[in-house]
Amino acid sequence: MTALQSPPSQTSTTRTMVAAINDALAIALERDPTTYLFGEDVGVMGGVFRASDGLQARFGTERVFDTPLAEASIVGMGIGMGLAGLRPIAEIQFAGFMYPALDQILSHLGRYRHRTRSRYHLPMVIRAPYGGGVHTPEQHADSPEAILAHVPGVKVVIPSTPTDAKGLLLAAIEDPDPVFFLEAIKLYRSTKESVPDGHYTIPLGKARVVTEGDDVTVITYGGMVEVSVKAAEAARAHGIGVEVIDLRTLVPMDLETVLHSVAKTGRAVVVTEAPRTGGFHSEISANIAEHAIDSLRAPILRVTGYDAPYPPFTAIEDVYRPNPVRVARAIRTVMGY
């Protein structure tokens, strides 16, 4: 596990992921007066998931504010604030509602440093809850990270634990370039852990080895980490050693850690909940196929959502989202190859 970057304070507090995110936002707003937080319902109400609970009361309506309902302009306005030297943190209420902002993202967010030859740069963070597993309405469970990762000039971070969420979010906010920060809705309150108090960062671009093992490497991130770890535990019961790698950062990707593990295990399974065709799992897979072909003793399997919209039908949505059984089967398949 990567060391935390500033020495965390001696104390720590048990926190859910959403509480850890709230803490990170408060620390950022406290430390840097150029930090601004905005989006739909983030102010008075503190966000639909309460990620910004209490922050408007604490930092005032100038620093933490509600915007009109228009995602393109939430991102676009943030870009303008970033140009003018502020550090905007925008919330998009659900990742599936980032689509109206994709024009701003593709046309501008990643291009400003390039098109102004570094005269301007955008120290902006865009947070959004993503992913399924909690019976949300239509389009509230989308996982569009592959699209964002294909945009040159932006970073993409997806944490899987409260401690990581806090440290990575602070690192994202302090990064000089635009960062997407996707938060698995399923993880917001499902687990708690002891999270260091005060300021610390976890560097972007460094993966985390969650479980060690010699037989199979499972590469994943966000909401699929706990699913993969459960599958790894099940495999261990059958004597299979699974190394689960939590990428944490999709862009830049920590290919070194991935290749190091695959060199050891010779088998790779990639797990995401996005639709199969064109998902980020394919990018991981393609990198392994390009850089580690000699180590491979089995096909690189992908355990993913399917090539259909995430189903708005509660009774069957769990069929769509990868679960430990599916991951375990893939692990068995590559072992038996």
Binding site: V44, G46, H140, Y306, D307, F313, A315, V325
Partner: protein, 384 residues
């Protein structure tokens, strides 16, 4: 709703009779100009049920029918809460207090017209004839709720805000190009009207003269955000003026008024005169959805005044005073409505649960090789 669609409409003074052409630098304008919407919403009935001009009201049968629809959807709304609390509904966005806004507008259509409702507009869809059982199925997140009946052109409630606005323009344009006189109606909220799609759709509809009616239900809130934070404008119907189309501001708690201005807009659209924007000024008395806690962002004082403006009470007082309704006939109506609902609920309960592989149905007419393989994966998994 053919009974209502053909009801006579009186000209509402606030609306959009073309003015004498305004002086303009651009004499190429092909279309008549309209006066911008007034700030005071058009009203036929005062909150106490008194008509400003009794001669201007629709016939008694129409008034009673509108009342019946409001009662019927209010009942759905009330039962919705209960069903949610007892786990028999997945989620539900209530529309209490907005019945006049939804009934008066949808009632001006026929089943040949298109309806593009948001999640808030269960009442509008029911008014146009969406069966209650299927509507319940939708809010139960059953696939049965998403397959709309063939005899209607009602689309499943839209969740991504404002996105269906351009679709309505396209459907309306298609009707025009096909030479029918059908129209399309699309709903949106005060919050939704901040999205770019709203602007683009109104402009497209104006430029292409599409027979499209845009209903902007200004209910004061977009989840926790009040309209005054949403926009600096106090008159959202004025936006129509920026697209050269008529805009009308109407009392959204007066169903006779909403019905009349909508019927006029529909008549204009059918006559080839193009689109209209109608702002219904109303209020979201209840929570954003059954899962929302409005005390986090507003106080009772915010809602207080609006309870008195209840659209059902208003019309009820009027109908009783006019003798169009009696306490007895009202009670009978409520009983009938409740029975209809329970029968529909029973029907909805009979809908079978979906099969796992249904998540891959209806992606393409012919499943791709990839989908065929993925279906096999699913069947293998659920077989385990």
């Amino acid at each position: 709703m053919t009974d209502l669609a053909s009801a006579p409409t009186n000209s509402a003074p606030t609306t959009s009779a073309p003015q004498t052409a305004l002086p303009t630098a651009d004499s190429s304008a092909d279309f008549p100009r309209h006066a911008p919407a007034t700030d005071i919403p058009f009203q036929l009935l005062a909150p106490d049920g008194n008509a400003h001009d009794p001669a201007a009201l629709p016939d008694p049968q129409t008034r009673l029918s509108l009342y019946r629809h409001m009662r019927r959807i209010r009942h759905f709304d009330e039962r919705g809460w209960v069903l949610y609390r007892t786990g028999r509904l997945g989620v539900f966005p209530p529309f209490k207090g907005m019945e006049a806004s939804q009934v008066g507008t949808a009632a001006a259509l026929t089943s040949d017209d298109w309806l593009f409702p948001t999640y808030r507009d269960t009442g509008a869809a029911l008014t146009l004839g969406l069966p209650i059982a299927r509507t319940l199925a939708y809010w139960r997140t059953s696939p049965h709720g998403w397959h709309m009946p063939e005899h209607l052109k009602v689309l499943p409630f839209y969740i991504p805000i404002a996105t269906q606005y351009p679709h309505a323009v396209g459907a309306a344009l298609a009707e025009q190009r096909k030479g029918t006189n059908n129209v399309a109606m699309a709903y949106i909220g005060d919050g939704g009207s901040s999205e770019g799609d709203f602007h683009e759709a109104l402009n497209f509809a104006g430029a292409l003269n599409a027979p499209c009616i845009f209903i902007l239900q200004n209910n004061g809130w977009a989840i926790s955000v009040p309209t005054r934070t949403q926009t600096r404008a106090v008159n959202l119907a004025r936006r129509a003026d920026g697209y050269g189309i008529p805009g009308v501001r109407v009392d959204g708690n007066d169903v006779l008024a909403t019905y009349q201005v909508t019927a006029e807009a529909v008549a204009r659209a059918r006559a080839g005169e193009g689109p209209t924007l109608i702002e219904t000024v109303t209020y979201r008395i209840a929570a954003h959805t059954v899962a929302d806690d409005p005390t986090r962002y507003r106080t009772d004082a915010d809602t207080a005044g609006w309870a008195e403006k209840d659209p059902i009470t208003r019309l009820r007082l009027h109908l009783l005073a006019e003798g169009i309704l009696t306490e007895e006939s009202d009670a009978a109506l409520l009983k009938e409505i409740a029975e209809e609902f329970e029968a529909a609920l029973n029907e909805a309960d009979t809908y079978p649960e979906p099969e796992p592989a249904e998540i891959l149905d209806h992606v393409f007419a012919e499943p791709t090789p990839q989908l065929v393989a993925q279906r096999a994966e699913i069947l293998r998994e659920v077989g385990e």
